[in-house]
């Protein structure tokens, strides 16, 4: 790229020009569907190639020009108190983000960016998603420099505010958690996913005009089976059963393979370190990400597991904070670990582990009974409607109405299970809540880091004397459902007492 005519002011900088190559490539990717669509429209005309090639070039040229203009008009400045970014081709925007409000600095490298030694630098402020400040792309060294600058400036600000950081004097980074390839493969097997089937089905639906036959036409399939495919229907029962087993097996295999590939791509080389001021996480095989989270920004811990992996003793840990992690609201800090491996991570974040000897409480039995009854009433209503409809029309046996009734039984059993499993408790510093069935999770929130407390009661709950306690947690949700009203009031009073005893601006 040529040098810009007007050089920016001394402390103003532009992003790396090499990033334009990446923009051009992604622009190329965007023009492909347009070109395909045009080829498809023009394919019956003569000399369609004559029209398609120049059009593709024009589209590509336009996207490169736009990318260059945007690059040329975007400057950033690392000031004394904030980072300023001025951008925009037609309408200009100037944004300033003070250091104290930056939750963490993330570096992300896609496979192409790695080839060029570039990184995408993202400043997480808790604004969420699109509103976050992002600089794409910078040289790796510049990304590291920015991160250091932000960290130093923020440390100064924190020191002035009298921030009580426990590990302030810690010298070097200490590895808290890492996943070896073997662990990663085990993890991948538990991440069984049939998402790829849905993707393929969706793609077939989107592009069915390209296929030589209509995949949604049942008659056509039957014709195919009767014609060239008749050997299939002539194979006999055993062969059909074997074929079914093979089909199911390949589906299973596909699910495992998807889970494995996805996990390895995402979590390859997963390393979580405790650095002087926070946590640093690196992961990714093709797209590498490098995220730093200040320890005092962690609002709550979320311990998660799965119904199956729990049997094998595997658990995961996430940090809940205002910052976002690749679209998810919480940061994965140990996605697949033994319980005892999570303890040092929780301790480093200033949290205690949920242990069995805490004074755990269940939700009220009334709440569970009402929920089960409600499920029964709804299922009964559906069954009645089905019964009436089937008896009136005679389309099928009215006995089919038993199916919705049968579904009510597992729903009631589910409530019983939840009654046994879901618990909550409170100690001097933390609130604990255990939820869920297929993906059980335990949330641990710091009492002083809560923002509000609400007792909510629906019409049934009011008559039956139970309530749900909603706690205002920054970056997440925390609710304790169906507890007796007196218990909810007692919990709220205790939590509010700790909240009002400490000012939020001191701890955050």
């Amino acid at each position: 790229m040529s040098e810009p005519v007007d050089t920016p002011e001394p402390d103003e900088r532009r992003t790396e020009p090499a990033g334009l190559v990446l923009s051009a490539i992604s622009g190329l990717r965007q023009t492909i569907p347009a070109v395909i669509a045009m080829v498809f429209v023009l394919r019956d005309q003569g000399h369609w190639l004559l029209a398609a090639v120049p059009l593709a070039l024009v589209l590509l040229g336009a996207s490169v020009l736009v990318a260059w203009l945007q690059w040329h008009r975007l400057t950033y400045r690392v000031g004394a108190e904030d980072i300023r970014v001025e951008s925009g081709v037609l309408s200009r925007a100037a944004r300033s983000v003070p250091y104290e409000r930056i939750q963490d600095v993330s570096l992300e490298q896609g496979p192409l960016a790695r080839l060029f030694g570039l990184v995408e630098v993202r400043f997480e402020t808790g604004a969420g998603g699109k509103d976050e400040l992002k600089l794409a792309y910078l040289m790796e060294a510049e990304g590291e420099r920015l991160r250091e600058v932000v960290r130093e400036r923020k440390d100064d600000a924190a020191a002035e505010a009298g921030d009580a950081e426990a590990g302030a004097g810690e010298p070097a980074a200490e590895v808290l958690f890492a996943m070896a390839p073997r662990r990663l493969v085990t993890f991948g097997l538990f991440e069984f996913s049939l998402a790829v089937v849905a993707v393929v089905a969706g793609a077939v639906q989107q592009f069915d005009f390209i296929l030589p036959f209509d995949p949604w036409d049942f008659d056509e399939w039957q014709e195919r089976l009767a014609g060239p495919g008749s050997w299939l229907s002539g194979l006999g029962r055993t062969a059909q059963i074997v074929g079914g087993i093979i089909a199911a097996g390949s589906l299973l295999l596909l699910g495992f393979a998807t889970g494995l590939v996805r996990t390895v791509l995402r979590d390859w080389g997963f390393t979580l370190e405790r650095t002087a001021k926070g946590f640093r996480r690196r992961r990714g095989l093709l797209t590498r990400t490098d995220v730093v989270m200040p320890a005092h920004r962690v609002q709550a811990l979320a311990f998660g597991t799965g119904i199956l992996r729990r049997r094998f003793g595997w658990h995961g840990l996430k940090f809940v904070s205002l910052a976002q992690d690749a679209g998810a609201s919480s940061h994965d800090v140990a996605p697949f670990a033994r319980w005892h491996e999570l303890e040092p991570i929780a301790r480093a974040a200033g949290f205690a582990m949920p242990t069995e000897d805490l004074d755990w409480h269940r939700a009220g039995a009334r709440y569970r009974i009402d929920s089960a009854l409600l499920a029964g009433v709804i299922a009964g209503g559906i069954a009645l409607a089905v019964l009436v409809a089937l008896s009136a029309t005679g389309a099928a046996s009215p006995l089919l109405a038993l199916i919705p009734l049968a579904i009510a039984l597992p729903l009631a059993a589910w409530q019983w299970f939840l009654w046994r499993f879901e618990r909550h408790t409170l100690d001097e510093a933390q609130v604990y809540a255990r939820h869920g069935w297929l993906a059980p999770r335990t949330d641990v929130a710091s009492r002083v880091k809560l923002h509000s407390a609400e007792i909510a009661q629906g019409p049934i709950a009011r008559r039956r004397g139970y309530a749900t306690l909603h706690l205002g947690l920054a970056g997440g949700k925390l609710a304790i459902e169906g507890i007796p009203l007196a218990r909810a009031q007692e919990l709220r009073a205790a939590i509010l007492h700790s909240i009002t005893a400490q000012d939020f601006s001191r701890i955050n």
Binding site: A453, L473, R492, L496
Partner: protein, 155 residues
């Protein structure tokens, strides 16, 4: 502040403001019913009678009951907001966790000298807690009190 504290009721004008608002909201339905009535599809009164009855109910009775269900307790270091007829909610926001405060007046509220006080917190749940139907002067006074608390806390 105790749970036993009876909530302070809102300004009586709040009922009137809610009545006017529901009255305006019910006008399209009444007009629609009148049109159907004039079209004469079904015997006289099939559309207009139930619609008028429902309108009278939600204009006269519901605002009164909603008003009775609402209230607030201004504590030393926290605000408690109670609301909801069917789905009751009882929210406490400690002043130390308030991010910013809004006092808002719509045209109806201005006509009745009312205002809505909204407290914004950093929590995802109850990110903003609003308390409608305060006398304008009260809302402003409450805002000043809460703001003073925040300032004292941070210093």
């Amino acid at each position: 502040m105790d749970e036993s504290d009876a909530p302070t009721p809102l300004h009586p004008n709040h009922v009137k403001a809610m009545r006017v608002a529901t009255l305006i909201a019910s006008v399209p339905f009444v007009i629609g019913a009148l049109v159907l009535e004039v079209a004469g599809l079904l015997p006289t009164g099939v559309f207009i009678v139930p619609v008028l009855l429902a309108a009278v109910l939600i204009v006269i009775r519901v605002p009164r009951r909603r008003y009775m269900a609402r209230g607030y307790v201004m504590g030393e270091d926290r605000l408690r907001v109670v609301r909801g007829l069917w789905f009751r909610s009882d929210t406490v926001v400690p002043f130390g966790r308030v991010q910013h405060i809004d006092v808002h007046q719509g045209p109806l509220e201005r006509a009745y000298g009312l205002a809505t006080l909204t407290l914004h917190t950093a929590g995802s749940h109850n990110a903003s807690v609003s308390l409608p139907g305060l006398a304008d002067a009260d809302a402003r006074a409450m805002r000043e009190t809460i703001r003073a608390q925040i300032r004292r806390d941070t210093m």
